[in-house]
Structures are given as structure tokens and as C-alpha cells.
Amino acid sequence: MIKKPKNSLEVRIISNVIEVQDLKKVYSLGQVKVNALSGINMKVPSGDFVAILGPSGSGKTTLLHSLGALDKPTSGSVLIFGSDLALLNDSQLTEFRRKIGFVFQFFNLIPRLTALENVELPLSIVRVPKKVRRKRAIKLLETVGLGDRIHHNPLELSGGERQRVALARALANKPDFLLMDEPTGNIDSKTASELLEIITTLNRENLVTTIMVTHDHEIAKYAKRILHFKDGLILKEEVNS
């Protein structure tokens, strides 16, 4: 996806899906100011698979929320396909989120809806007709290996299954990129590696740009690149062979 910047005199080709420039986020917890992000610079080209590895409380999730247009940074900018999120209003941010696939640590499925309905939900938000979205949701659930459990409620599914439903939901609107916040944090290691197989396959075969936050070295190894993260800063970058 290539977008022309507003200033048409300066034509540039944007190859990065995400470009983060000197991103800072300061929280106020009462009197105390907490620097969650203290100047992040990163670029994610299309088709990349990045793991952000760091201990809990290091600001990884805050970064992910900023990339996902859920949270506004204190300073610095997040450019997605060249558009600065800081310049967008609430409603534009919401529309942006529709092209981002989010997978959360705690699955965040809607418990009263079935697996199928959960996957259909983002499609119904963008007004995909019922028949089309049903078909697509079933196909996605088959892709993540849940073709036989589509009518189950999240409460009737195991942690790994729930996370696969969440992945299917994240993929529903053919997102520009996937953001995953500790996707394996609540599932056992066997199920976790199954899930990551699916994700790597998606990345390899469908070129789904993926950014994953984790504290687990083993999990991070699935990514093409690992960004080591600590105290709101990227310390070093490691490329997986």
C-alpha cells in the first residue's frame, strides 16, 4: 500500500508499514511520573515478523497500544503507511484500528458470542453482508484449525483454542499488520508452539506483517527480528537466522 503524502512536491515511496520516531509516553500515577516509553525509534517493513522481547513492566504493551492506535503518545510520532496517528481524530483512529489485527494476552473474546460470531464481529462492524462474513469467518476458523468448534462459546474452549479464535478474529478484516500482546502468556508451551506455527506460516505464506510482544525468549525465536526492550527503550536488535 503506497500513499501519497499531503505535500505533493515531495514525493517519497513508503516501504515501511510502521515507522516510529522518538516515541515517548509518560504516565502520571498520582504525583509520580512514570516513563513508560523513553524515545523509541523503529521501522517495520512490509512482511516483517518482529518480536519485542522484554521483562514485564518494561513498557512493551504501551508501545503495542501506541502502534495499534489505541493509546496516544506523549510525544514523538507513529507513522502507519506514512500517516501520523497523532494527527487523526477519534473517529479516524477507530477506522485505522479496523485495519489492525490485535491479539491479546487474555484473548478478549466476547463470552456470550460463539467462536464464529466472535470472528464475524469485526466484519459486521465494517458492514460486510451476513453471508459473505459467515463464509469468511468459517474459512478463518478452519485456517487456525477450529473448523469443528465454530459454534462453541469461548468458555467451552481451551486457552489455546480461544487464542486461535482471537487470531482468526484479528485476521478477519485482512489487516495491514498483526499486533500480538503476549499471545502465549496464558497457554501451555505445546499449544503455544502450535499457535506460533500458524503465525509463522501466515507470515511466510501470506506475508502478514507481524509484531509480537513477549517476555519469553523461546517464543521470540519464532520471529525474524528480535528487539530487546527494557525500561522503555530498545537496547539492541537481533536478527534470527
Binding site: 497500544h65 495499534g68 489505541l70 493509546d71 477519534d90 473517529s91 477507530t94 477506522e95 485505522f96 484500528r97 479496523r98 490485535f102 491479546f104 478478549n108 473474546l109 466476547i110 456470550r112 458470542l113 464481529l121 469485526p122 459486521s124 462492524i125 465494517v126 458492514r127 478474529r169 478484516n173
Partner: protein
């Protein structure tokens, strides 16, 4: 999001909390049911009042009295006399006038002695004025009555309305009128002959025939009561348009130097309508308050539900649901409660009103009017579309208003905060 998807999403979450949402729904149902039942009954009441008058009166009749119809004005000392009708008859647009002498007398009939109004009236003219109610069930009303002629209202002969008759045609009836002259109290009694018994009338109007009335010829009344003073003169006009009524009433008032009250049937109906309207408004007001309470109930439940569903709202926003759609989802939950509550309310309220009528729960109130000029009435509910539509609209407005704030609260939740909510 398509509207159908929004609605089915809202229905889904209502179904999840059946008991709680059911209670909110019950609140609306009660409110609407109260409006419908009280509203339909008071409309029925209004209908009956209007009907009673139309039955007894054609609108071309006006009433002339020295008394006052309201409580505030001082009554005039002016007196009307029976032969004033001769003057009134000469006024333009007057077709005929009838003078009424009315005294309360002890009446001895069968084994009973009753205190009843005895009314002296010109039979042929009275008949002309009230062709629908001054009608006999048995016997007849002679245009040339003798001094002993007595016509009885239905309830006089059958006071308990159970078929136990105190007498029949051509039975004798003793009428006793008590006068005093200084310390000298004198009972005057005469024996009349029952020549006619009126059909049951039901209601009554000022000056019109009643079921409790005893009618004697005016000429005899003048002699027996020893007076030509009359309380009321009824005047029938040639036509019933407002202009004629107005100008004729003015001429009559002028004739008696403004000392008499001219009452038109429309003015009575209007006065009563006003009272009924006040009662109606009061009743509807009371039920409206219960609906507002139900609205507060909706708000309470919606707010609780938003607390519980904070995370869900965070999820919806994080996958790209717009604020407006979040508002619509929560608003339609409130609206669905409002719509269902209104429908159930109409059904329950309708049944309630019909039950009140069927089981005669209001007969106490209704028969309480027996002794008044309204007469005995039975109230049946009237359901008109205005009441139904109005109460549904009100129900919806209440649920929207009280659903709006929780919906707005839900929509403005910060997605990150909401997702973090446990």
C-alpha cells in the same frame, strides 16, 4: 455496522441478563399499564358524562335559573315566576319555554314513605322538550291532565332496582308538602293517581326528567304549593347554532335585568369536561411518574451493565467499533426494553381496565354519582389510538432519555483503560 446487526447484538446481551433486564422491563410495563388503564377509564368516564348530557338535552335547549351553578358566586335574590314563560316565548328564536316548580315532599306509596322531588310542569310542553326521556313505560302522559294526575320516574316505583314495585298504574299516591307560617307548621297532603311510569332514563340533567322524579301538572302545583314562583325555566330555541344561543341568552338576560343565570348545555359539558380533564391529568400524571421511576430503573440497570461490560466495550472499540455504534448498541438495549415494556403495558393495562369494568370494581364510585345530577353511571374503558400511541411514545422517550447517559458513558470509555478493567 448494519442496524439489524446492532439490534441483534443488543438483543443478545439482553438475553444474557434475563432477570435483571426483565425487572427493568417490568417497571416500564407497570408504568404503561397504569397510564393505559387509568387513561382509558377516565376517557370512558368522560364519554359517559358527555353522553348523559346529549341524551337528556338537545343542544338547542338553554336553562334559566336564579340559582348559581358554581360555588363562588352569590345567588341572586331575584325570583322567576311560572308566567315568565309568556314573556320568554315572545323573544326571537324561542320555540317554547317550560317552567318547573320543584319541591321536596314526603311521598307515601305502597308501604313506603320517601322524600322525593315533586316537579310541577306543563306535560305537553315538557314532552316536546324531552321527547326521548319524558316517555312512559306504562300508562300515558295526557296533554290535558287532571289535578290528580301523577307521573312517576322509574326508580320511584322500583326504588331498589330489583323488581319490588311499590305500586302500579292507577294506584293512589299521597303527597305531603310541609309549610310553616311562623310557629305554625302545616302539612298539606293530597292523593294523586298514578297515570304513567317513565322509562328508565339512567342519567339526568338539570331540569330534565329523572328516574327519581314525581311529575304533576303545573296548574295543580301552583295551587298545591301555593306559589307561582319557579326555580327553573327551560327554553327551547328554533336552532342550535352558537350565534342564536348567544343572542337569545343575551335577550333573556336583558329581559330580567341580568339577574338570572342562563346556562347552555355546552357550558355545562364544558365545565364538567374541565373537571374530568383535571382528574384525567392527575391520574395520567401519577402513572407518568411511575414510568419515570421505571426509566430510572432502566438507567440503573444499564449503568450496572456497563460496569460489568467495560472490557467488552474495550474489545469492541479495539476492533474498530465507532463511538456512535457503541451508543446505538446500548441505546437499542434500553429501547428494546422500552418497546417490549410498552407492548406488555398496553396488554396488561387493557386487561386491567376491562377487569375493573367487568368485575364492577368501580361501581362504588359510579353509584356515588347517583344522587348528583350526573346520575348513576357505569364506566367502561375507552381505548383510543391517541392514548395508545401517546403512551408508547412516552414510554420510548423515557427509555431513550434514561438510556442515553449510560450509552454515552459506554461510548466515551478509553479502550486501553477498558481493556485493562478486571
Amino acid at each position: 455496522m448494519f442496524l439489524s446487526d446492532i439490534i441483534s447484538y443488543a438483543i443478545g446481551s439482553i438475553q444474557r441478563r434475563k432477570v435483571r433486564k426483565g425487572l427493568a422491563l417490568l417497571g416500564v410495563t407497570i408504568g404503561i399499564a397504569a397510564i393505559i388503564s387509568l387513561g382509558s377509564l377516565s376517557q370512558g368516564f368522560r364519554g359517559i358524562v358527555a353522553m348523559q348530557f346529549e341524551q337528556g338535552f338537545s343542544s338547542d335547549t338553554i336553562i334559566l335559573t336564579t340559582g348559581s351553578l358554581d360555588f363562588l358566586n352569590t345567588e341572586s335574590d331575584f325570583e322567576l315566576y311560572v308566567n315568565d314563560t309568556e314573556l320568554i316565548d315572545q323573544i326571537d328564536n324561542v320555540s317554547l319555554s317550560v317552567a318547573l316548580i320543584q319541591k321536596n315532599c314526603f311521598v307515601h306509596l305502597g308501604d313506603e314513605e320517601l322524600l322525593l322531588p315533586v316537579i310541577g310542569v306543563d306535560f305537553s310542553r315538557y314532552k316536546e322538550l324531552f321527547p326521548n326521556t319524558f316517555l312512559t313505560q306504562s300508562g300515558s302522559i295526557s296533554d290535558f291532565p287532571t289535578n290528580n294526575t301523577v307521573i312517576l320516574g322509574k326508580r320511584v316505583i322500583d326504588p331498589w332496582n330489583n323488581g319490588t314495585l311499590l305500586g302500579t298504574i292507577s294506584d293512589e299516591i299521597n303527597i305531603t308538602f310541609t309549610t310553616r307560617d311562623g310557629f305554625n307548621v302545616e302539612n298539606k297532603t293530597y292523593t294523586g293517581n298514578i297515570e304513567g311510569i317513565l322509562d328508565e332514563i339512567g342519567g339526568s340533567t338539570i331540569g330534565g326528567p329523572t328516574d327519581m322524579g314525581i311529575y304533576i301538572p303545573i296548574s295543580h302545583a301552583i295551587k298545591f304549593f301555593d306559589t307561582t314562583r319557579c326555580e327553573t325555566i327551560l327554553v327551547k330555541l328554533v336552532e342550535s347554532n352558537e350565534q342564536t344561543i348567544k343572542s337569545t341568552s343575551d335577550s333573556i338576560e336583558d329581559l330580567f335585568a341580568g339577574q338570572v343565570q342562563v346556562v347552555t348545555p355546552t357550558s355545562i359539558i364544558n365545565a364538567i369536561s374541565e373537571i374530568v380533564t383535571t382528574i384525567e391529568l392527575f391520574l395520567i400524571g401519577v402513572s407518568a411518574i411511575s414510568l419515570v421511576v421505571a426509566g430510572v430503573g432502566i438507567m440503573n440497570i444499564m449503568l450496572t451493565s456497563i460496569m460489568e461490560r467495560t472490557r467488552e466495550i474495550g474489545i469492541l472499540k479495539s476492533i474498530g467499533m465507532k463511538k456512535e455504534v457503541v451508543i446505538l448498541i446500548f441505546l437499542s438495549e434500553a429501547l428494546i426494553i422500552g418497546i417490549l415494556g410498552s407492548i406488555f403495558g398496553i396488554i396488561v393495562g387493557g386487561f386491567l381496565a376491562i377487569a375493573v369494568d367487568e368485575f364492577g370494581l368501580l361501581t362504588g364510585l359510579a353509584s356515588g354519582t347517583k344522587e348528583t345530577f350526573i346520575g348513576e353511571v357505569s364506566i367502561s374503558p375507552i381505548f383510543n389510538s391517541g392514548l395508545l400511541i401517546g403512551s408508547v411514545i412516552f414510554g420510548l422517550i423515557v427509555s431513550i432519555i434514561f438510556g442515553l447517559y449510560p450509552a454515552w458513558r459506554a461510548a466515551k470509555l478509553d479502550p486501553v483503560e477498558a481493556l485493562r478493567y478486571e
